[in-house]
Amino acid sequence: MLTLTCPCCGITAEETEFAPGGEAHLKRFGPDSSDADFEGYLFARKNPKGVHFERWRHAYGCGKWFLAARCTATLEVFGTYAAQTHKPPADLIKKIKAKRPEWEPQA
């Protein structure tokens, strides 16, 4: 039973208030994209045993989507941040690396 902090409304709440939404920072590929790019966009999910960047929606709260960095092996939450970004904030990356020097963000 996770607790997450919604960066939009600032509330820290039960997992039951949120809805998970899968991998974060996906790039959408549209009609002119290659087969491989389009398949990658829809299906080739990052599924690390470790640090994962993912989408959540504060579904039973403010309704806003946000992103989280969470470890799928320990469930530690490193931080949450606004959905309106193409990559994780530098300070969050720094924080994770401080805790896990071995870790490198996946391409």
């Binding site: 039973m1 996770l2 607790t3 039960e14 809805a19 939404g21 959408r28 590929f29 549209g30 009609p31 994209s33 087969d35 389009f38 829809l42 989408r55 929606r57 579904a59 309704g63 806003k64 989507w65 470890c71 320990t74 469930l75 530690e76 939450v77 490193f78 959905a83 309106q84 805790k99």
Partner: protein, 984 residues
């Protein structure tokens, strides 16, 4: 025989006698008794039968670890199987029955299994019962099922109430023994919000029985003053009878509180399930004494040494007149002292150690008790009750040196910390060789949301077994008798031959013996998980609280490896079993799931509508009149709507407003067709696909103003589509200026349908609804008969039809007004089934029928609703993939049976031949099929291979059972092909 002592018993109130029955026999106990203490007090030593061999079993423990003494409690609707007597408080009128025997506890046919014990070792069923093939299911398995299964089956629904509650705290302290009290005191004084929970009804844990001094006070006095201080703190909450069942991630703890268990029928919840969010958990959950493995250690009358003194001290119950104590440690000598103090006889203490020189043994010896050092129990005598023990040397092979008469054996094999809550979320353990136990490894705790330790362990749970060590850990002085080192003993005697090992039990409920674990090891089931599953060790209702460490020690020995190399099985919640009723709480019956109600729901209820669940709505399927079948009602509703006028409660329809400078652009991405070009005042039917190209929702979009659109969605889809919109707006096109609002419940919506629809609405007055003023696929806003109405001229039935949206608060009044005004026009409500049939008669698709998540709009002949001009929309790229453009995709057609019958729902059309896997090839399937009262025969829609090119062709569909039905491929529009009906 066990009996009640004439004095003592710190927990019982002798002034309050309570009557109860055991197997129908009336018995008496006192307030403060547990069922177990009351049974022992009444002389009942044998209380049940074991799982596999149906061996007689007695009470072994005094707490949650009890493996044997489970009973059926209560009767009829309040019957509960597998109730643990050692933790169930006695109450007036309790009815208890022993379990797993037939015809009676004393004489049990199933005991024959025990006679054949040699033929029924661990896993024997994996090696037998394989032939003939059908025999397992029909012969062997039924016998095994009947002979296994412990408790009786409840026959009725549970009449009791359960509830759930949340608690939030900085620190949750689990366990109200002295370690927990000290921890709560420290945290409370530091100003933390503290919850202290104790599973039993009493504070102090073992200490009141075992004695000692804390902080210069007698332990009992310290407990009392500490409790007083805790009770005085506003930031500290104390709860007894609340068992912390499981530690979950991020500091979530599930607790079960017993509230009304002892007052059946009272107006109380029976259990309360607590969801506790704790910043930190401190577990002070104590330790559990281990049995010793010797032959006959399961005979009724063999008990844990600590339990024996608990019964004497807490409940003034003597488990036996003559108790032999068997031990490998000093602590068990406390039991001798307790028995002696109560005037009971201790013929001997059998100590496996070569010498016993600690303070407690000295004290016991000084009181004249015979201590046999380096000795072991070779065998317990007696079957339904202990009658004596044969003594041998611990180092030997069990040759009897002497026999001692006794009716109780108190055994102690050392203690195991209760590490469950530490382990549930991955806290690791280390092996403490000195005390022969696993205890929490402080270096590897379970981690919380922030990656730091979320559980701490104190007291005996942390391996601090003496009072001095416990309180030392809490920074308090304490004194208790010094204890000499224990000696690990995993089999008694050490060289026990097979005959003894086959009778030395490890798991008492599941009848797992030392020999079974050794067999598992011999056969290669080397992992502790393999051994557990192969032998069922630790899988009984006590989940191995007594058996796990002994079992894995025997396994390690058999494998010739140290115990930590073997490791433990995983600890899983709950710590002790919790009622499914409490997990369910109030979410049952009418409150099972939230029910969404339209403004007109009460009207439908009053007309006894037959319901169809749609999402969390419940829509009228039809409105049967007295004596009418559902089918007849549906036909009547259709015929009436098509000839007069019908009303449909369409309020469940999704209504989402999309507004803003970029709203048109956004909707052009969302829908397959163009919405930005829709003129204000007009409506357009639209399709939505997911990024995989599959059709996921449809509905009519109305342009409300220059920058706002109202999107209707399916009833089941409103919330999903709204969050879908938000997903794209927030996560992909976050720079687009669009605002969405789901107004589904803000409006009531009524479809007024049929040739007399306009006539009916005109009677309400206020708005011109003529063909000229409100043409098809347009909308108007105004005051209709005093109601604030937005009227859409759209049709899902092919009839002249208006959908009228009014604020939810006006919905019922408008509905009733329409019913009243339309009486002479023949107005009638119609339900979802009539809606479905009428749309099928017109060849309109229904999301969920014609679509199933694998269908694209192109399959349904909806190419007209896919804009060719747009460079992009959600799903467009996916629809370019080879499988989506395959000319062999099945396409939508109409189907009419040659004999007028209705093709069954879900019917498939076989094609010639079989595929590579031997399955019949297929060429289509039915998606919607109904009896059409309008046409007077069965009509259907379906997806058929090259269907639109095969008009008029007759193909076969699977009928009921083995039958086939012939149907002709037709246009899907069966009724009013030219649309004259709605164009009036």
């Amino acid at each position: 025989m066990s009996t009640r002592l004439s004095k003592g018993g710190r927990l019982i109130d002798r002034a309050k006698r309570l009557n109860f029955t055991f197997n129908g026999k009336p018995m008496q106990g006192y307030e403060g008794d547990t069922l177990a203490s009351a049974l022992l007090g009444a002389g009942q030593v044998m209380v049940g039968r074991s799982f596999k061999y149906h061996r007689p079993r007695g009470i072994m423990a005094s707490g949650v670890e009890e493996p044997n003494a489970l009973v059926g409690l209560g009767r009829n609707a309040r019957f509960e199987p597998d109730q643990r007597t050692t933790t169930t408080e006695l109450f007036e009128g309790a009815e208890t029955r022993s379990q797993n025997h037939w015809p009676s506890l004393e004489f049990d046919v199933g005991e024959i299994n025990d006679a054949f014990y040699k033929f029924l070792p661990a896993g024997f069923y994996y090696k037998t019962f394989m032939a003939p093939q059908a025999a397992w299911k029909h012969l062997f398995e039924p016998i095994i099922r009947k002979s296994a299964g412990l408790g009786g089956v409840p026959k009725e629904a549970d009449p009791d109430r359960y509830e759930q509650a949340y608690a939030h705290c900085d620190v949750l302290v689990v366990g109200g023994g002295v370690a927990g009290l000290a921890a709560a005191l420290r945290e409370g004084r530091a100003g933390k919000r503290v919850w202290l929970v104790e599973q039993s009804a009493y504070w102090g844990g073992r200490t009141p029985v075992d004695g000692g001094q804390i902080d210069g006070f007698e332990a009992c006095d310290w407990i009392k003053t500490t409790l007083q201080e805790l009770e005085s703190m506003e930031n500290v909450t104390l709860r007894t009878r609340l068992m912390a069942a499981g530690q979950y991630d991020h500091g979530y703890v599930i607790g079960l509180e017993s509230v009304g268990d002892t007052r059946p029928g009272a107006d109380l919840p029976r259990h309360r399930l607590w969801r506790i969010r704790a910043g930190r958990t401190i577990t002070a959950t104590g330790a559990i004494e281990r049995p010793l493995a010797f032959a006959g250690n399961d005979v009724p009358g063999v008990m844990l040494a600590s339990a024996v003194r608990d019964y004497v001290a807490n409940w003034a119950v003597s488990p036996g007149d003559r108790t032999v104590i068997v031990t490998n440690n000093d602590d068990a000598y406390r039991t001798a002292l307790a028995l002696l103090d109560a005037g009971l006889s201790v013929p001997a203490i059998v100590d496996a150690r070569e010498t016993s020189h600690g303070a407690l043994p000295q004290e016991v010896k000084a009181r004249g008790v015979r201590v046999l050092e380096g000795r072991a129990v070779a065998k317990v005598l007696g079957r339904q009750q202990v009658s004596g023990v044969e003594i041998c040397t611990q180092a030997g092979e069990g040759g009897a040196i002497e026999t001692i008469d006794c009716d109780c054996v108190a055994m102690s094999g050392g203690w195991s910390p209760v590490v469950h809550l530490w382990s549930h979320c991955g806290g690791k353990l280390i092996w403490d060789a000195g005390q022969a136990m696993f205890r929490p490894d402080p270096e590897r705790p379970p981690l919380g949301a922030d990656g730091t330790a979320m559980v701490q362990v104190v007291g005996a749970a942390n391996g601090d077994l003496t009072l001095a060590a416990v309180m030392g850990g809490a920074g308090l002085g304490a004194c208790s008798s010094d204890e000499a080192a224990m000696m690990p003993v995993w089999q008694m005697p050490a060289g026990a031959p097979p005959a003894l090992r086959f009778k030395s039990f490890l798991d008492f409920q599941n009848d797992v013996k030392v020999s079974d674990v050794q067999l598992a090891a011999r056969e290669g089931y080397e992992s502790v998980e393999h051994t557990k599953r192969y032998t069922t060790l630790g899988m009984a209702t006590d989940q191995g609280k007594l058996s796990n460490i002994n079992g894995l020690a025997v396994l390690s020995d058999a494998l010739g490896q140290p115990i930590p190399a073997t490791g433990t099985t995983t600890f899983r919640p709950p710590y002790t079993p919790i009622s499914l009723g409490a997990i369910t709480a109030e979410a049952k019956g009418p409150l099972f799931q939230p029910l969404r109600r339209t403004p007109m729901q009460s009207w439908h209820e009053a007309r006894h509508a037959h319901w169809e669940p749609v999402g969390q709505w419940r829509r009228p399927y039809c409105y049967p009149k007295a004596g009418e079948s559902h089918r007849e009602a549906v036909n009547r509703e259709i015929t009436n709507t098509r000839s007069n006028v019908g009303l449909l409660d369409a309020s469940t329809l999704g209504k989402i407003v999309v507004k803003g400078p970029d709203a048109g652009r956004f909707l052009d991405m969302l829908y397959t067709n163009m919405m930005s070009t829709l003129p204000v005042g007009k409506c357009r039917y639209g399709l939505m696909c997911n990024e995989n190209g599959f059709l996921m929702d449809d509905g009519v979009v109305a342009r409300l103003s220059d920058d706002s659109w109202l999107c209707h969605t399916t009833s089941g889809g409103a919330d999903r589509i709204h969050s879908w919109m938000e997903d794209w707006l927030q996560c992909e096109w976050w720079d687009w200026k669009v605002y969405t609002a789901n107004l589904t419940e803000q409006f009531a919506q009524i479809a007024v349908v049929g040739p007399k629809a306009r006539q009916l609405l005109e009677r309400l007055g206020g708005m011109d609804l003529s063909k000229e003023a409100l043409p098809f696929m347009q909308w108007l806003e105004g005051r209709l008969g005093g109601f604030d109405a937005r009227i859409f001229r759209i049709s899902f039935s092919g009839e002249l039809s208006y959908e009228i949206a009014v604020p939810a608060s006006q919905g019922l009044a408008l509905w009733e007004k329409l019913v009243a005004e339309g009486k002479d026009l023949g107005v009638m409500p119609y339900g979802t089934e009539a809606l479905h049939v009428m749309r099928a008669e017109k060849g309109f698709i229904m999301i969920g029928d014609e679509t199933d998540g694998t269908v694209i709009p192109q399959d349904l002949g909806l190419n007209w609703a896919i804009s060719k001009k747009k460079s992009d929309y959600l799903g467009k790229r996916a629809q370019q993939r080879p499988h989506m453009t395959d000319p062999n995709r099945w396409k939508l057609v109409g189907l009419e049976t040659l004999d007028g019958s209705v093709i069954p729902d879900g019917s498939h059309a076989p094609a010639d031949g079989y595929n590579a896997n031997g399955q019949r090839n297929t060429q289509g399937r039915v998606t919607s099929t109904y009896y059409s009262p309008t046409i007077g025969k069965g009509i259907a829609m379906g997806l058929v291979l090259h269907g639109p090119d095969r008009m008029g062709e007759v193909i076969e569909f699977t009928g009921e059972g083995d039958a086939m039905v012939k149907a002709r491929i037709t246009d899907p529009v069966f009724y009013d092909k030219d649309g004259e009906k709605q164009n009036v």
